[in-house]
Structures are given as C-alpha cells and as structure tokens.
C-alpha cells in the first residue's frame, strides 16, 4: 500500500496515521461535531477502485466526527456498503437495508436506485485492517473495560511509537487493572520500538515485557538491535529468561495437543472397544458409524438453519443423542441382519463388514453428494483462551470434556446397570448366561447397538474438526483398531490409556520428526510393542483369553 515510504506492515501504518489524526481531533470530538462543509468529503474515497484510497477514506471517516461514520464503517464490515456512480455528481454511497438503500451521507432513504448501477465497496485485507485500526484506536477510550483491554492489545501488536501520548492519556484515565496492565505493556512495546526514552525508562520497559512472558514479547525483544549497552544487557537477560519460560510452556502446550489428539482417537475408538473389544466382532464398518453420526449433525444443523436459527448454539446438544440413536439403530440392524450369522467366525465378519462399509459410503455419496457438507461451529465453541503461554482452543477443550463424559457414561453403563451386567455375562460365558434366563441374541444386538451409538456420538465431535464427507470414517478406522489393540482388547481403561499415550507421543515426536515421520515412528513402535506384549498394555487375564 502506498501509504508511506516505510511499509512496515499495514496495521502499524494505519494506526500511526489514525492516532496522529485522533490526537489532534480528540478534544474536538467531545465538544462539537465537525463541520462537514469545510472538510473534504470523507465518503468520496470509499467509491474508489483503489484499496489504498478506500482504506485512507475509512481512517479519515473514523476521525471526521461525521454522525454517519460509525454506521458506515459498520456497513463496510458487514459487506453492506454500496456505491452508485451512475449520477453526474459525486458517487452515491449507499447502505443496503433489506431490499432498499439508505444514503450513507445523510442517513435518509435513497430512491430511484437502479440495481445495475450499484456495486459493493471494494474490500481487501488492507481495508479490513483500516477498519480494525479505526475501531481499535477509538476503543482505547471505550466505556467497556474489556474493549479497552483488547484495544490495548492491538496497540501492543503494532507497537507504534506514535501511540505513546495517546497511551499515556489512556493509562492516566484507566481504572481497570487488567486494561491498565495491557496499556502499560503496549506503552513499553511502543517505547522500545522507537528511539525515545532514557536508558532507565527503556530498561524498565524491557522489564515489563519480561513480566509479560509470552512469545510475542520475546520476538519483539529479539527484533531490537543497536541498543545502548545497559538496554542491550537487559534485553539479552530478558530474552534468555523468556526462552526458558517458553520452553516450559511449549512442553505443556504439547501435552495439551497430545491430550486433545488422544481424546479424538479415544472417541473414535470407544465404540470399537465395545464391538471389537468386548464382543470380538471385527467391524470394518465402524468408521461408517462415525460418519453417520457426523451426517446426523449436518442434518440437525440444516433443519435448525431453516426452521429455528435461534437454536443453532444448541445444535450439537440436539445432535449428540440423535447421532447415538441413528448409529445405534443402524448397529442393531447390522447385528440382526448380518453379524449374528457370523458369530464364531470373526474373520468373516471382517469381510462382510468391509462390504457393508463400501455400501454405506456409496449410499451416503448417492444421497448427500460426494462433496464436503458444512457443519458449523457454535459461537461458544469458537476461538481460544490464552492461559499464560498456553493457547487452549474451545473446540478442542470441548472435545476433551466430551470424551471424558462419553467414557464415564460408557463405564457406568457397563458396570452399573443391569444391561451392562448382562452384556458382560453374555460375552464371558454365553451358555451360562442363557441358562440364567438372559436373552442372549437381544443382548448381542443391544451391545452392538451401544458400540455403534458411541461411534455415532464420536461423529458429532469429529464433525467439528474434520471433513464431513463420505470418506470421513475411513480415515479413523486403522487408528481406532491400533488404539484398541495397543490398550488391550476388552479393557476400556486400556483403551483410554492407549489413546492418550499415542496422542501425546505423536505430538512430542512431531516437532522433531515432522508429521509424517512421527506417525511412522509411532506405528513401528506399536508393532515392536505388540511383539513384546502380544495382548496389549492391559491384557485380560483368565480362561476367556484362549478362545
């Protein structure tokens, strides 16, 4: 962007300009509205085809004090601002409202607009940055402390020395501790980025950044060169201490990533731990049960989008039981129509269920099409929270919690309910169980349905992080079998430990070996481990083992 000879990133440039204008006009803002007749029309730039001019116009508009400024900027952000250059005079700037247009300059309804002459205002990343900066600079004095803190964070990122006077004023007026700290950090960053301040002030600024203790502070300090001796020494000490802190955090971060990957594996494998682990059925269509769950989520969201958009935030809560039912019923049908004829021939079930998985994939492809389906993420699951040097994304955290709930519920069912008791009885000694009056075929069907239903619930979780496509299930089937076998067949705890181990090991290997090699190493380690302990980490003991 041609905003200056020094293109050091657009955020910085735009904030720089904005703050400069703000400083001049701030006192003015409070007292009287700017007189529009004298100033050049700030709207005219918005009609330009050139992004620089549009961005400049936004910065100018933000500080013009024009009564329509806020509404206009909001309209650009929402893609609702249009230009009509058909007339003779200055082009009309229009805000779209439903089917009609409002003149952005006057706020009045515009009439006689020909749709063919109307074009939307051109927006790109530079323009979007100008919008952010426009809002950010103003936000330092916003009424809400949270907004002020966020604005200060933005200034920290841009660390523009021109912001210093503004920051000083904002700090003086600040009551909220959090916002104040953020502003002081921004002030320190801005001070160090420029040449101003005495050595003592600069050393104090380094200390503030050192206290902040995150990656950004470290990379900012590292980017400083040609400092005076005491400052350079302080920076060197600070960066090395920050590097140590960062290392510590990065270990924690990897553990989080590992647990998160582990819980995805666990969810995918939990159903298999029942159908394969407890019942001994090698169900190659397990991945397709997961896929059914994901498509159920898609259907639920589709219905909500068209009939009850307000419920979108709750869509996943509705999807979880439904996915359980859909996949569970599918599982019961599969057991009744196919698997039950193949008991005692585990390897044949492998082949038949492989055929079934082909049919299910192609069936979904025929019904929903082969392209990905969009499953949205509810607002409450988006974004991340920063905790020290740890970045925790809400969707991953939700999946971890969900995995814990699913496993706890599964264990409760298996251990605490009469259904679970019967399931265990039937799988341990079918004849004896039948003699005790248990309807073994019915229990078989229910057990298989339970495992499939759990797979369906996993599908809801996976729809949040992966493609919802007919191939969804295939990507997880091998990993799921590995998890169950590594943990020890028939042992739910084993599955939990194994999923977490594989997840964490994978995430610790990744930085050194790369994603591909890391996975290969894990697979080879798994093969070697099975050689040492042929029945997994937690083998079942007793006579049932020798089938």
């Amino acid at each position: 962007m041609g905003w200056g000879s020094d293109p050091e990133g657009d955020v910085m440039v735009s904030i720089h300009r904005l703050l400069a204008v703000l400083l001049v006009s701030l006192p003015l803002l409070a007292t009287s509205p700017a007189r529009a007749d004298d100033a050049p029309d700030p709207f005219i730039g918005l009609a330009s085809q050139n992004f620089d001019i549009v961005a400049n116009a936004i910065s100018a508009l933000a500080v013009s004090g024009h009564p329509q400024a806020a509404a206009t900027i909001a309209a650009i952000e929402a893609d609702n601002l249009y230009v009509d250059a058909a007339g003779d005079g200055a082009p009309l700037i229009l805000i779209k409202q439903g089917d009609s247009y409002i003149d952005a300059r006057t706020g009045q309804k515009a009439s006689d607009i020909n749709e063919d002459d109307v074009d939307s205002v051109r927006v790109n990343n530079a323009v979007r940055r100008a919008i952010e900066a426009a809002k950010g600079g103003l936000d330092l004095f916003a009424a809400d402390a949270d907004t002020r803190q966020k604005a200060a964070e933005k200034v920290f990122t841009s660390h523009d020395p021109a912001a210093l006077p503004l920051l000083a004023r904002a700090i003086a007026a600040e009551k909220d501790a959090g916002a104040k700290r953020a502003m002081q950090q921004a002030q320190a960053a801005s001070l160090l980025a420029g040449d101003g301040g005495s050595d003592a002030e600069r050393v104090a600024a380094v200390a503030i950044l050192r206290l902040r203790g995150d990656v950004e502070a470290k990379s900012l300090l590292q980017s400083l060169h040609d400092q005076s001796k005491p400052v350079a020494a302080a920076i060197a000490a600070a960066t090395s201490s920050l590097a140590r802190i960062e290392q510590l955090w990065s270990v924690l971060q990897s553990v989080f990533y590992g647990i998160s990957l582990g819980s995805v594996l666990l969810l995918a494998a939990a159903g298999l731990a029942i159908t394969f682990g407890v019942m001994g059925v090698i169900n190659m269509a397990h991945g397709e049960m997961v896929m059914l769950g994901a498509y159920t989520t898609f259907m639920v969201q589709e219905v909500i989008r068209t009939h009850a958009p307000g419920l979108f935030g709750a869509s996943l809560f509705i999807a979880v039981p439904l996915a359980f039912l859909v996949s569970g019923i599918a599982g019961i049908l599969i057991e009744r129509c196919m698997i039950r004829f193949l008991y005692g021939r585990p390897l044949e079930t492998l082949l038949a269920s492989w055929g079934l998985s082909l049919i299910l994939q192609q069936g979904v492809r025929s019904i929903f099409g082969s392209s990905n389906r969009e499953v949205g993420t509810p607002e409450w699951m988006s974004g991340a929270v920063q905790w020290g040097g740890l970045v925790i994304t809400w969707n991953r955290l939700t999946i971890i919690v969900f995995a814990v709930i699913v496993i706890a519920a599964l264990m409760a069912v298996m251990r605490g309910t009469s259904l679970g008791l019967r399931m265990r009885a039937v799988t341990q000694n079918r004849r004896m169980a039948a003699a005790m009056g248990i309807r073994t075929p019915w229990i078989d069907a229910l057990t298989f349905g339970l495992g499939s239903g759990v797979a369906g619930m996993a599908g809801v979780a996976l729809s949040q992080i992966d493609n919802v496509s007919p191939n969804l299930g295939q990507g997880y089937i091998i990993d799921s079998f590995m998890v169950v076998v590594f943990g020890g067949v028939g042992n739910l705890w084993g599955t939990v430990v194994s999923a977490m181990t594989l997840g964490i090991v994978n995430k610790f290997l990744e930085p050194f070996a790369g994603a591909v090699l890391g996975k290969i190493v894990v697979l080879i380690a798994l093969i070697l481990f099975i050689q040492r302990k042929p029945r997994g980490m937690f083998p079942l003991k007793g006579r049932a083992v020798e089938q």
Partner: protein
C-alpha cells in the same frame, strides 16, 4: 474352516465348474467385441466417482455431461451426436490407466476428458501416447510436462503461484513466508519454484519456512501454532498453502480457532476453491486468499449464462462452480472448435488443429491454445467472503502464457515445448539444441 476339503475328482463335470473362471478370463475379450456405432462421436470421461478423489472429480463429470448435452442441442458435431462414455477409475491410479485404455481401445472414444491428480495423469500418459489419443486435463498442476497427446487447460505454476506471491509482496508488503503443503509432487515443485523466486526477490532464507504434511492430515494444532510463532517475529507474514483437498477443512478450522485472522497472517491457497469452501463456515476465514483463473463471483455475461445452465442442468440452484470446471469448459470448446477446423475427429489431425484455437473463457476474455499445449489464462486473486464466495481483489491486465518448464528450476530452465512442425518436441533443450529424452 478347519476341515480339510478333500474329495475324489470326476472329469465329466469340471467343464461346468470352471465355466465361471473361463467367462472371467474372456470377459474383456467379449467386451471389446461389442460393435461400436458409427453414428455418434464418443467422448470419454475419466473422473473418479468413488474413493478419496470423488469429492472433487464428480463435479467435473457432471459439467462434462452438461457440455456434451448442450453441444447435442446445438446439433452435435460434424453432423453427428456426441455420446459420453463415463467410467469410474475409483481414485485408484493403476485403474486410471486401465480405464483409459478401455475407453480408447474398446469404446473408441475420439477424446478423453479427465484426471485430477498428477499421479493419475502420469499413470494414463503412456497409454495416450501409445494409442495416440487426446487427453484434456483441467486442473492446475506443477508443470514440468508437455506431451503431444495431452492438452493442459489448468494453470501452470506461473499462472497461479507466482502472481499470488507478487500480489502479497507488493500489495500487502509481506516479508516472511510459510510454504505449507501436502507432501506430494505438486506442492514440492511449486514450493521449489516459489523458494527460488522469493530468493531472487531478496527474501532471506530464514524468512522462509517450509512445512510438509501427509495426505488427509487432520490434526493441525501444532503446525498452526508454529505458523503463529513464525509470524510473530515482527515482519508481515503470509502462508502460501498448497495443502491438498481433505486436509484443508481441518486446517482452516484450526486457523479460525487459534484466532489467526487474514488481517494478521493471510493464507493464500492454490487448491482451495468454492467447492472446498462449501464444507466450512467461512465467516472466520474472511480475507484469506486464493489464486485461480476463474471465480464463480466473476461478473461476465458468459459466466452468468454458464452458472444458470449449470443450475438448470443439475437441478440444484445452489451448486457452486469452480476453476477446474471453467478449465473443462474451455478444453471442451477448444476440442469442438479444433474438430470443426480439422473436419474430422482423427486424433493426429485434431492435435495439429488444436494449436492456435481460441475460445472465450468465463471471465470475459479469450483463452488460446499455445504450441506448448497449455492455454493462456488471466490470473485472479480472490479473498474469501462470508458466504463462501470469493471477492476478486486483483487480476492480471491480460492473459498469461504458461511456463510449462519452469525457468526457476535447475533441470528445466533450458527446456521449451513446441508442438508445431518442424520442431514438434515437448522438451527441446535450447542449449544443446536437442529434443531431450524420448524421441516423440
């Protein structure tokens, strides 16, 4: 399964028992015996309808069926109706070669439209050269190839990657680059070219980070965190993504969740179009970029008409269009024109007639088939919008000619392709003056 099957044989009945096996052995023979009708011109469509690539390729099959249908409504070609022969190579690369051979030698198609991945094209290439048939390949690819029998209507790297990098460098003042890709030949080659190009523009080696991930990578947590860290060094950073297909959705979801916005670290992708975005909520991705030669949002009469016909043909008013579809559209129209020019579907004559054929593209310009069997294309940079479409923020003033052999790669900088006589060579070495390698 434990019982050993043993029994006394009887010669008399073995004929019946082996009938099936015999039938299987000669089934291929029988298929070839089906008489091919002479009153239609057959066109082969070789796109995966199942397996991992079905996600992208099914659309191209549909668009080809639409184009053939339209041509027939206009009266066909050379007075004959066109007939589509659809087969499913099932995302299986050897099967691509087998199906290509089936289309050519059993169905006697006049030309084949197909393939998406480079490996599928490489797999069928020898078949087309051996049988002297024609393949139209509609997808952007890594270049480094020019075959007599293949017409490449997708972009070569200089028609997509280099303009995109130029845009970020000049308009967004990007100083630090992450080249992230799936570990296969297209990203590897494109990144090699980009690395050489960036270095030639004065970018230091420590300001380039290259990262490869396996196909279908679904866990992007640590890689996105690394990108974030790399981008926090104070210089404006951008990601150039050659991440393939399935891996994109989880990648973008992770970007959105870790809060990387396009205004902080823009991602420019070469394999992400309208079709891929259909599976993601694009609101958090607004502003990320893609470089293509066509976007659905381009306003031109030809495009409006094309989209309308597409919706009518598929009976789905929301179905998106994308760049490879435009490439298929251009390729098909070029073939029709070349057949009309040659007055026959004879492949040798059509191949000669193809060079110089010019047809309108969907962005309001004209694309021409060049002697290197690649076409001229405009390059468009689009930013993702909240509705899953792209907003064109920049485009080349005219069309760009493809560099089938990249000047930025050591091995190919001296090579050119020119399929006009007398040179008639796909890899002519301008230094040694020899038509390298195979004598085609």
């Amino acid at each position: 399964m434990s019982r050993v099957l043993s029994s006394r044989p009887s010669v008399g009945r073995w004929l019946r028992s082996t009938a099936l096996a015999a039938a299987a052995l000669v089934s291929a023979t029988a298929m070839s015996a089906t008489a091919h009708a002479e009153d239609t011109i057959k066109v082969g469509i070789l796109h995966s309808l199942s397996g991992t690539m079905a996600i992208s390729e099914t659309t191209l099959k549909d668009v080809m069926l639409m184009l053939i249908d339209q041509q027939n409504k206009k009266g066909g070609l050379l007075g004959k109706k066109l007939e589509a022969v659809v087969v499913d190579p099932a995302s299986n690369w050897p099967l691509f070669a087998e199906k290509a051979r089936e289309l050519i030698t059993v169905d006697h198609v006049a030309a084949v439209f197909g393939c998406w991945t480079s490996v599928s094209r490489k797999s069928v290439l020898p078949v087309f050269e051996e049988t002297n048939n024609i393949l139209f390949y509609p997808v952007q690819y890594e270049g480094e190839e020019s075959s007599k029998n293949v017409f490449y209507t997708g972009a070569a790297p200089n028609q997509q990657a280099i303009p995109a990098v130029d845009y970020l460098m000049n308009e967004d003042h990007v100083k630090r680059w992450v080249l992230a890709g799936t570990d296969y030949v297209y990203p590897r080659t494109t990144n090699k070219i980009l690395e050489a190009y960036l270095k030639s523009k004065g970018v230091a080696a420590e300001d380039i980070m290259v990262n490869y991930t396996p196909f279908g990578q679904s866990d992007w947590q640590s890689i996105v965190a690394d990108i974030k860290k790399f981008g926090s060094a104070g210089k404006k950073t951008a990601v150039v993504s050659t991440i393939n297909g399935d891996a994109n959705v989880p990648f973008y979801k992770e970007l959105a969740n870790q809060g990387i916005k396009a205004t902080d670290i823009p991602v420019v992708a070469f394999s992400v179009g309208e079709e891929e975005l259909a599976g993601i909520d694009t609101k958090p991705l607004v502003g990320h970029l893609a470089a293509w030669n066509y976007f659905e949002s381009v306003k031109s009469p030809a495009n409006t008409a094309f989209i309308k016909e597409w919706h009518e043909f598929t009976k789905k008013p929301n179905r998106t269009t994308n760049d490879p579809m435009e490439a298929a559209y251009i390729g098909f129209n070029m073939w029709v024109k070349a057949v009309e020019k040659a007055g026959t579907t004879d492949q040798t004559k059509v191949i000669d007639a193809m060079i110089g054929v010019a047809v309108p593209n969907l962005t309001g310009g004209i694309s021409t088939m060049m002697p290197n069997h690649h076409i001229t294309k405009p390059v468009l940079i689009g930013e993702v919008k909240g509705d899953g479409q792209f907003n064109v923020v920049w485009q080349t003033p005219g069309t760009v000619v493809a560099n089938e052999w990249s000047p930025y790669l050591e091995g190919s900088k001296d090579l050119i392709a020119d399929w006009r006589h007398p040179l008639f060579c796909g890899n002519f070495n301008t230094v040694t003056g020899k038509c390298g390698g195979a004598s085609k």
